[in-house]
């Protein structure tokens, strides 16, 4: 049963299995374990980023191509929900229409970009996605009557998901059962289902072909697989999942603007999370997203302390200032690509494989 659910892709490492279990339980009971608005926000962000990063890993880790337009699809999903809810009011139909049209738009865009750039050379893909994504970002902030421009859109969700809606008058286990909680569990179920679906995809025969293309494009083509078709399908799938993650984000924040879903910084965060967690493993996305979100919430405070402690040395203080958080992310990113390319999950798996070999031999 469990094996089937995980598509026969078990953690293959005891520490990793324990880590994942803790993560699953922690997220499942987050509202009860970590009371407070900020903690629930972090937990919801973790859920959203798990889906976003896992969908990116399908492209980077499994297919071996780099896209810089992933936040574009993330943004399309978020804008779909936001625009539909603003125009049609807070109904479930609006959510459906918004998500549906966002998915269709993502599909078409990913198809066109894929066919144009992957036809010749995979390296085009990285450059062209970068160009399209930056054009889209400009467009989104310029079409202000439609997208709300730089200010973004604040909108209402269906009543059941609104924070003011109470299921019970009395708190249950010290937590109010309100619409916010309902939204959180909606996200939790969505994230779980989407992650398991992605796991299913990468462990299917289709996923094996993607990995073959990653390892050796020429051989895969020689065996008879149309590389360009597989790569395009992979990029479309990844775009659709990113779009879903965007819809989750909009649902949680009840707001969307260019900076929250389209900005290039999110793209860098996603890249970093994939590398830290481990490219080519869906579990890496889950572990990486959690580590990153916690680090983002607390490392910046640490940097502030460091900056204040080194006021005597102005240049060091400037380097450690929390505004330079991206600098340290960049350094971390470069170092992890060099020395840590398989990420946390890869390291853990290698360690237990070695142990097993020692025990066996």
């Amino acid at each position: 049963m469990l094996t089937r659910l995980l598509s026969n892709d078990l953690p293959r490492s005891r520490p990793l299995a324990i880590l994942l279990l803790v993560l699953l339980l922690g997220l499942a009971f987050a509202p009860f374990l970590f009371p407070g608005v900020k903690a629930l926000n972090v937990a919801a962000k973790v859920l959203i980023f798990i889906v976003l990063v896992a969908s990116f890993d399908l492209l980077l880790g499994y297919t071996g191509i780099v896209s810089f337009a992933h936040t574009m699809f993330f943004g399309i999903g978020a804008y779909g929900i936001a625009i539909a809810s603003t125009r049609m009011g807070p109904t479930w139909a609006a959510l459906g229409v918004g998500l549906g049209s966002a998915l269709v738009l993502s599909f078409l865009l990913a198809l066109v970009i894929g066919l144009f750039s992957l036809r010749v050379r995979a390296i085009f893909f990285a450059m062209i996605t970068l160009a399209v994504a930056s054009a889209f970002l400009t467009l989104a902030s310029q079409l202000s009557e439609f997208t709300g421009g730089e200010d973004g859109l604040t909108f209402k969700v269906p009543e059941i998901l609104q924070p003011s809606y109470d299921f019970m008058d009395e708190p249950f286990l010290g937590v109010m059962l309100d619409g916010r909680l309902a939204t959180y569990y909606l996200l939790f179920v969505l994230a779980l289902v989407l992650l398991l679906t992605l796991l299913r995809i990468v462990n299917s025969p289709f996923g094996r072909v993607l990995q073959a293309i990653r390892e050796n494009e020429f051989r895969a083509e020689a065996i008879g697989y149309r590389v360009v078709v597989y790569r395009t399908i992979s990029s479309i799938l990844s775009a659709l999942f990113a779009c879903m993650a965007g819809a989750m984000l909009a649902l949680w924040l009840r707001y969307n603007g260019p900076d929250t879903s389209l900005s290039f910084e999110i793209m860098i965060d996603v890249l970093l999370i994939v590398v830290i967690g481990g490219m080519g493993t869906m579990y890496g996305a889950a572990i990486g997203a959690t580590l990153f979100m916690i680090a983002q919430s607390y490392l910046q405070d640490l940097l502030r302390l460091g900056s204040e402690a080194t006021v005597a040395l102005p240049w060091l203080s400037a380097l450690l200032s929390p505004q330079r958080w991206l600098l340290w992310l960049g350094v971390l990113f470069v170092l992890s690509v060099y020395y840590f390319p398989t990420g946390v999950v890869g390291k853990l798996r290698v360690r237990s494989a070695r142990r097993q070999a020692e025990r066996g031999g």
């Binding site: 995979a122 390296i123 990285a126 160009a131 400009t138 290039f264 991206l326 600098l327 470069v334």
Partner: protein
């Protein structure tokens, strides 16, 4: 390159584009102003893109951090020009030149030196691995951009044009900014120097041969690695020079400008064919003209028009206008 049967069709694209939009714009003087502006912008972009496309052609290295050198050059220029305000505020052209030339030279030196370090620490460890190259050079660009913010601050800095380079020249009804003419001259000079180096010197011969067939050049006993480092440093220096010109063109610099220009440059080298210098020139001129025409006709879709241009060219020639052999 091959003088015998030079392919003129892509070259014809540039005047073709200029003529096609003429009826859309209507007024001849506006058209002339926009065309000169487009050519100036195109030549600045070419100065920046030439290094990137050669680096790719020679060593198969795709440098996503190229934009860093643009921003670096521009910021160095603000410091140099800021310290020479006596000379820039003079209204004699030769005094302005004396101020701008060292600014350009220092910017090229700094960008070249940083390029050397970038090649050594960022690019060298990941030769031959495209995926890691893209990731690492992107990381290098983020680090560089943040370091620029540490040194010069995160805000936009004004980079005013020296006195004598401001203002316009009237040709009939068409107003043409003086600086654009200067940019065209500098761009043509760089292009001329590049063509001369590539076609008339031994190093140029080796570079062209290396782009065509790297292994063959190596087997003849030339160290392509050293050649590559030289090209990388020169390309970074040219990007620095282009950054100064771009900064003066916009009259302000921001730390993010490198990333913004990077997008245009990628479009240019894809249009031109990765590794082709002549293609990069044509791509740059097309992109420069297109950006100015659509900026006037339909400002909201300006960036998309360049992507549409690229898509159109890729439909015609999937490898770019001048495909480089053996890739």
């Amino acid at each position: 390159m091959k003088n015998m049967d030079f392919d003129w069709k892509p070259v014809a694209l540039v005047p073709l584009l200029a003529l096609l939009v003429f009826p859309l714009i209507g007024s001849g003087s506006t058209w002339l102003t926009l065309t000169v502006a487009g050519l100036a912008m195109g030549l600045i972009i070419f100065v920046i893109a030439s290094g990137l496309t050669l680096v790719f052609g020679l060593m198969d290295v795709l440098n996503f951090g190229h934009g860093l050198f643009i921003a670096l050059g521009a910021f160095v220029a603000t410091t140099v020009l800021g310290s020479m305000s006596d000379w820039t505020q003079s209204d004699e052209l030769w005094r302005n030149m004396v101020a701008v030339l060292p600014a350009m030279l220092v910017a090229m030196l700094v960008a070249g030196a940083v390029g050397l370090a970038f090649e050594r620490f960022i690019v060298k460890p990941v030769y031959g691995q495209h995926l890691k190259q893209i990731l690492i050079t992107m990381g290098g660009m983020i680090i560089g951009e943040e370091l620029i913010k540490v040194v010069w601050g995160p805000q936009q800095i004004a980079l005013p044009l020296p006195e004598a380079m401001r203002g316009v020249i009237l040709i009939g009804d068409a107003a043409i900014e003086k600086y654009r003419i200067i940019a065209v001259i500098v761009g043509l000079l760089v292009f001329g120097a590049l063509v001369w180096t590539l076609n008339k010197t031994k190093i140029g011969l080796l570079i062209r041969a290396g782009v065509q067939d790297r292994e063959m050049v190596e087997s003849l006993g030339y160290r392509i690695r050293r050649l590559f480092i030289g090209v990388f440093v020169m390309g970074s220096a040219l990007a620095g020079l282009g950054g100064v010109m771009w900064g003066l063109y916009q009259q302000s610099v921001t730390p993010q400008m490198g990333a913004q220009v990077n997008v245009l440059i990628f479009i240019v080298i894809i249009i031109g064919g990765l590794g082709s210098t002549a293609g990069a020139l044509i791509g740059a001129l097309l992109v420069g003209l297109m950006a100015n025409y659509t900026g006037y006709l339909a400002p909201k879709v300006a960036l998309f028009s360049n992507i549409a241009l690229m898509a159109g060219i890729l439909l015609w020639r999937p490898q770019g206008v001048y495909p480089v052999a053996n890739r």
